[in-house]
Assembly symmetry: D2
Homo-oligomer: 297 residues x 4
C-alpha cells in the first residue's frame, strides 16, 4: 500500500497528464475513487457549497478540516486540499499542515490572495493579491513544518485571474518555487487556454504545473499534455451534476406527489449501504458481537 502522499507525488512527477476530480464530502470522495480517478480535489467552493455557505471562509477552517477527515477516511487515493489562503498567515499554515498530515491528506494548495478569500470566478480582476514575500513565507513555513517528506505544497498563482499579465504570473511562480513549492497551480478564467499555454511556454519543466480548466474545458486534453502540464483538476463537476439531479428529482416528486416515477432512475437504498461499506460491519458483528442475535433479538 503506497502512502497517499507518495501516490500524489508520483502523480505530479509522472510523464502524463493526471486528473483529479472534485469531491466535497465522504460519499462523493468514494464515488471519485470508485470511478477510477487517481486523486481527489478537495474543492473549497464545493465543500462550502455543500454546507450551504459561501466560498468566502464562512465555514471555519476546522469545519473544513472535519469534512476532509471524512473524505480521507472514506478513500484510499490522495486528496489535494484547496486550502484557500491557508486561512490566515504563515502560523495558521503551520498548524494546518500538522492537522492535514494527521488526517492523511496528501497535499494542499495555497493561493496568493488575502483572507477572507473570494472565489476566483467572482470579480477576480478586482481581487488583491498577496504580498510575494509574505506568501513565500507561508510556503517555506509549510515545507519546514511537514513531517512526511512526501507531503506536497502546491502554490496557486492568481495573477492571470487578477489581470496582472504573464510576466507577473511567471515572476510569482518563480518566487514560490524558490520558496519551496512542489508544484505551481496556474489559474485562469479565460474561455480558452491561451494564457495558460503561454505560461507553460515560459515555464518549461521548472517544476510540475497543475491547471483547473473550468472555463476553458473545451481545450482538448492532448494540448495540455503537449504543453507539459502535469495535472488537471475537474474542480466542481460532481457538485454541479448532483445539484441538477437533486433539482430535477425534487421538482418531479413535487409535481407527481409520488416517488414511484423516479424509483427506477435513482440509486437504490442498497447502493447507499454499499457505499457506506455496510457489509464490513455485518461481518465484524459476527466476529466481535457473536451473541448479538441470540442475546438481543
Amino acid at each position: 500500500m503506497i502512502k497517499k502522499s507518495t501516490q500524489f507525488r508520483n502523480m505530479l512527477n509522472s510523464d502524463q497528464v493526471e486528473f483529479l476530480m472534485e469531491a466535497h464530502d465522504g460519499i462523493s470522495a468514494r464515488i471519485v475513487e470508485e470511478a477510477g480517478f487517481s486523486g481527489i480535489w478537495g474543492s473549497g467552493l464545493c465543500i462550502s457549497a455543500a454546507m450551504g455557505v459561501r466560498d468566502n471562509n464562512e465555514a471555519s477552517w476546522t469545519q473544513v478540516l472535519e469534512v476532509l477527515e471524512f473524505m480521507s477516511d472514506a478513500t484510499s487515493i490522495p486528496i489535494l486540499l484547496d486550502a484557500d489562503t491557508g486561512y490566515g498567515n504563515f502560523n495558521n499554515v503551520r498548524r494546518l499542515v500538522r492537522k492535514l498530515e494527521q488526517r492523511n491528506i496528501a497535499a494542499m494548495c495555497l493561493e496568493d490572495k488575502l483572507f477572507p478569500k473570494t472565489n476566483s470566478f467572482i470579480r477576480g480582476e478586482q481581487q488583491p493579491l498577496a504580498d510575494i514575500q509574505e506568501f513565500c513565507g507561508k510556503i517555506a513555513a509549510a515545507k519546514d513544518t511537514q513531517k512526511d517528506p512526501d507531503f506536497s505544497v502546491v502554490a496557486r498563482v492568481e495573477a492571470l485571474i487578477a489581470g496582472r499579465g504573464l510576466e507577473e504570473a511567471v515572476r510569482r511562480a518563480e518566487a514560490y518555487f524558490e520558496a519551496g513549492a512542489d508544484a505551481i497551480l496556474m489559474h485562469s478564467k479565460k474561455a480558452d487556454a491561451n494564457e495558460v499555454l503561454a505560461f507553460m511556454g515560459e515555464w518549461g519543466d521548472t517544476c510540475p504545473v497543475v491547471i483547473v480548466p473550468t472555463t476553458y474545458y473545451s481545450t482538448p486534453t492532448q494540448e495540455f499534455a503537449d504543453a507539459g502540464v502535469s495535472m488537471a483538476v475537474w474542480g466542481n463537476h460532481l457538485m454541479r451534476a448532483s445539484i441538477t439531479a437533486m433539482q430535477e428529482t425534487a421538482a418531479r416528486v413535487i409535481k407527481e406527489q409520488s416517488v414511484a416515477g423516479i424509483e427506477g432512475e435513482i440509486a437504490s437504498v442498497k447502493d447507499i449501504f454499499r457505499l457506506q461499506n455496510a457489509d464490513e460491519l455485518a461481518e465484524a458483528e459476527k466476529k466481535y458481537l457473536p451473541a448479538y442475535h441470540d442475546v438481543k433479538s
Copy 2:
C-alpha cells in the same frame, strides 16, 4: 414570518397529507425548499452516507448537529430531524433538545431501538426494541425540556419493522402518545402499505401519524390521505439521485478524459453561486466595505 416549529406543527395538524423531502447537507436542504416542499427530513441515513460513514452512530451526535445547523441556516422551512434513539438515554435526549432548539430545528423523531442503532432496512426483524417504559421516559424528558411550546417530538415505532405485529405497534404507539409524543411515525419495510393502513384503521385520529413509504412507494398518495395519514417522508431520494448523477458523471469524464461532453448537462458554476446566495454578499460589501475596490485593488 412564522416560526419553523409552528410551521411544522401546522403541517402535522393540517387536513391533507404533507410531504417532507430528505436533505443531508446545506445545499440539498436549500434545493428542497426551492423545489417547493414545506419541510425537510434530516435523514440519519443520508447525513451519515454523505459523511461516508455508516448509519450506526459512527458520526458523533455533535457532528450530526453541525450538519443540521448548516441545513437550518440555509433554509426557512422546518426540519424534522431523524434523531435515531436520541443518541443515548433520556439525559442525552434532554441535551439534544436544547441544542436543536438553539439551532432552530423544528422537530425531532426518536425511534424505539437501542444505541448504537442499525438502519431499519438492515436485519430489521432481528433488531431489539427499546423497553417501552424507558422509551416513554425519553419522550417525557424531551417534552419537559423544550422551551418552545411548538417544538415537536415524533415517536417512531419500529414494531412492524421488527416483525412484532400490529398489536405491539398499537400498544407502543399508545404508550408513546400518552408519554407526550406529538405524533407517531409508524415505520414499515413492506413492499405494500397494508400493515401501515391496518395501523391507521386501529389508530384513527388519536394523534397525527407520519409514514416513510420508502419500500411501499407504489401506493398512491391518495390512499394515505384516505387513511388519515398526516405526513409522508421521502426519506432518501435526493441522496440517491445525487449518487447516480455523480457516478454517471465521474464515469463519463474518466472515459472521455474531458468535461466538455457533460458541460451542458450539469448546473453551471453560477448556479452554485446562486444557491450560496453570493449576490447578497456582493450587496453587503458595497454597504459595509465601501473602500474595498479602491483600497485593495
Copy 3:
C-alpha cells in the same frame, strides 16, 4: 428571569462600576457566577491558553464558539466575548453574531487590529491597527445582523496600546460609537491609569466605557468610578490562579510521590460533582428512568 443580553445592557447602563471576571471553560464560568459576579469575560487569551495554543487565532473561531457554548450553558449570567478582530472581515462578523445569539452570548467585543491577531501585551506598539472605515463597517454589520435588540457590541480601541496617543484614541472611539457601538473598551498596558483616565476626561458620558486594568491594577477602583467608567474587566485572573495551583500541586505530588499531603487542601471529588450539577441528574433519573435500579442492577 431577565435575558442575559438585557442583564449585560443593564450593567453597561448602571450608575456604578460593574465587574466582569474572566472564565475560559464551563467550570471556571460557573465558579465566576457562584462567587457572585454579575458577568463573565470570555477571554481570548485564556480560552486559547486553556487549549494550549497561542492567542494568535490558532484555534478556529468555531472551536472558540464551542467553548463559549459550554460556558453559556453552565451559567445564568451574561458573557462578554473577547472576539478579537471578529475572525475576519465584516462578513465573518455577521456570521459570528448569528452564532453568538443562538448560544445566548450577551455581547461581544471587537478590537481594531488585523487578523490573525497578536495579544496586546506582546509587542503592542508594533502592531498595526485596522483601517477605521473598515472597522466601522464591521460594527455596523454586527448591529444590523443582531436579532435581539439587547445584544451589545463593544468596540475595543487599541490606539493607546499601539502608542498612537490620546487624540487617535478619541478619534477612533468617536467613529466606532457613530458606527453603532454600544460601548467603547479603551485598552491600555501602562502600569498606571493615567492615559485611560485622560481618555475618560475627553470622552465624558458619550457612551459607556469598559476598561481592562490588567497592568494598572493598583489603581483604586474608586478612581474608575469617579472617572465615569462603566465596567472593569478582570481579564485573566482565574486562569493565572489556576496555573499556580496546578503547578504547585503537581510539583508537590512529584516530590512526595503521594497525594496524601494535598488531599485536605484541594476541592473534593464531591465538589466537582456539585459544580457539574450531578444531583439534578440523580433526581431526573427517578422521574424519567424509574426502573433503572430494579431493571439494571
Copy 4:
C-alpha cells in the same frame, strides 16, 4: 524521540510504579509534563467537568476527542485516555482507536459498564456491568484495529466498585486479558487498599496492573510497589486544585473589589505566554514574516 505509544508501553513494563497525573485541557497537560510526570491521565470526569457538563457522556465523543487533540499537541509525554465504555459498542471503539492514533494518543482505557456511563463514585454499587463476552469483543476489536503495535488498550474492571467481589473481578480481568488487553485497571472506591491488594495477590504478574487510588490515597506508595502494581493514576487532582484556587481568587476579588491583593500570588501574564510557547512564534515571525515590522507598523 521515542514514540508516545512506546513511552507508555515502557512505563507499563518498567519494574517500578509509574505515575500518571490527570489533565483536562491543553494547559493542564503542559503543566503535568513540566512538573516532571512521565504520562498524563486524560480523565473523563475532569474533561467533562472542565466543559461544565456531567460525567455521563453529555459531551459527545468527538468533543472529548478535540480536547485530547489539544492536550496531545501541547505535550510530548504519553496520554492514557479514560475512554469510558468506548462511547458505544465494538464498532464505535474501532472508530475511536483510529481517531486516537491519528491524534497521537498513546493508550486508552475501556471500562466494563454501559453507555451512557455514570461516574464510578456515584452509586457505583448499583451500576450494571457490561456483559463479559461483549466487552471482550470491544477489546479484541480495538486490538485488531490499531495500526501502531505499541498503542495500548487498558481494560478497566468495575466489579469491585459494583460490589461483585474479588472472584468476579479476577474472572473479568482474566477474560479481558485473554481478549487482548495490554493491562488491567482494577478500580476500587474503598478508603483502604485492601481489596486492590487482594486482587494483586491473586493476579501476580499475569499482565501489568493500573490503579486509581483516589479514595485510598493514604496507602503508602511503597505498598503498591511491593504488591507489583505497574502504574498509579492521580485521577483528578489538578482539577481539584484549580477549583479551589479559582474559588478563593474569585471570592477575594469580589470582596476586595480589586485584584491588587492577589497580584503577587498568582502566575503572571508572562507565565501564560510561556506556557503557550509564545517565544517560538516570535522567532518564527522573524523567519517567515520578515517584513512584518517594516511593512505593517
